[in-house]
Symmetry: C2
Subunit: 129 residues, 2 copies
DNA sequence: TCTTGACCTTCCAGTGACTGTAAGCTTTAG
DNA sequence: CTAAAGCTTACAGTCACTGGAAGGTCAAGA
């Protein structure tokens, strides 16, 4: 399978696949005679796994750990627990911050259309709270 | 006023003030004989304004527009309206995405402590949804 | 006067996770 | 045979800073 085929199968851009290889998330692909990367079915699974993790906003470094972990079935998985918990905390914190942000912007978002800059209530509020 | 004094007065690191000048958010500061940047009281206001906008997650390019606008008091301020609305939409979209993310991670966050990798329910779910 | 330390300057690199672009080789279709 | 598509690498750009190095300036204390 060539990189573009893997890209379609995994729904990850070829460019991004090369990037994942570059940062060590994927092992360097085998090359065939012309130097093109050669992939296997298994690589689709890996990429889908990575993409799923990325959708959950798990950092590349953490995904690397998750992939490594799968090579040692007998190791403890406590750190995976921690990773997900940490992630959850981060998201909840962001949610709280966004809620405040939304409130502030909602208050700001009064219509200024047809007004002049010097009368703009939004600018006024931004300048002196 | 030297840059460190402005930094304290505006609560913006000196490093960041130089950065703002570099990207054109602040006009190049006047220099005194030794080459040090020389600031005025007015510059505190500008930086506080910038910081307030940044806290609302308004991009530097957009802040530049807001600052430019204040130079033309007679121009229309309709675009400011648009900018805030755009911002609000973005935040609300992010909030929706984070809500889904939180739900997914909450479902994942079952305790795996003391288990082995091969039994890890989190990994299991990440691998095949 | 000398020295020490704090502060200033510029410039370059790094962050995270890609994305864009350019130059050059290979393959494929007409 | 040629043109287009696809592959390769390498470097730059994104965003908003932040860190660090190398060197100039200044004020205070011995």
């Amino acid at each position: 399978m060539k990189i573009s085929e893997l890209a379609i199968a995994s729904n990850v851009p070829a460019k991004t696949i090369r990037y994942y290889e570059q940062v060590g998330l994927l092992k360097p692909a085998r090359r065939n005679d012309n130097g093109y990367r050669q992939y296997r079915i298994k690589d689709i699974d890996t990429l889908v796994f990575i993409r799923r993790c990325r959708e959950l906003n798990i950092a590349i470094g953490d995904i690397k750990q998750l992939l490594d972990a799968q090579q040692n079935p007998n190791a403890s998985c406590a750190f995976i627990d921690d990773m997900i918990a940490k992630q959850l905390n981060r998201i909840q914190q962001t949610q709280r911050e966004l809620a405040i942000l939304e409130k502030t912007l909602s208050a700001l978002a009064t219509s200024c259309a047809n007004h002049k800059i010097e009368d703009c209530s939004i600018l006024h509020h931004l300048k002196s709270n």
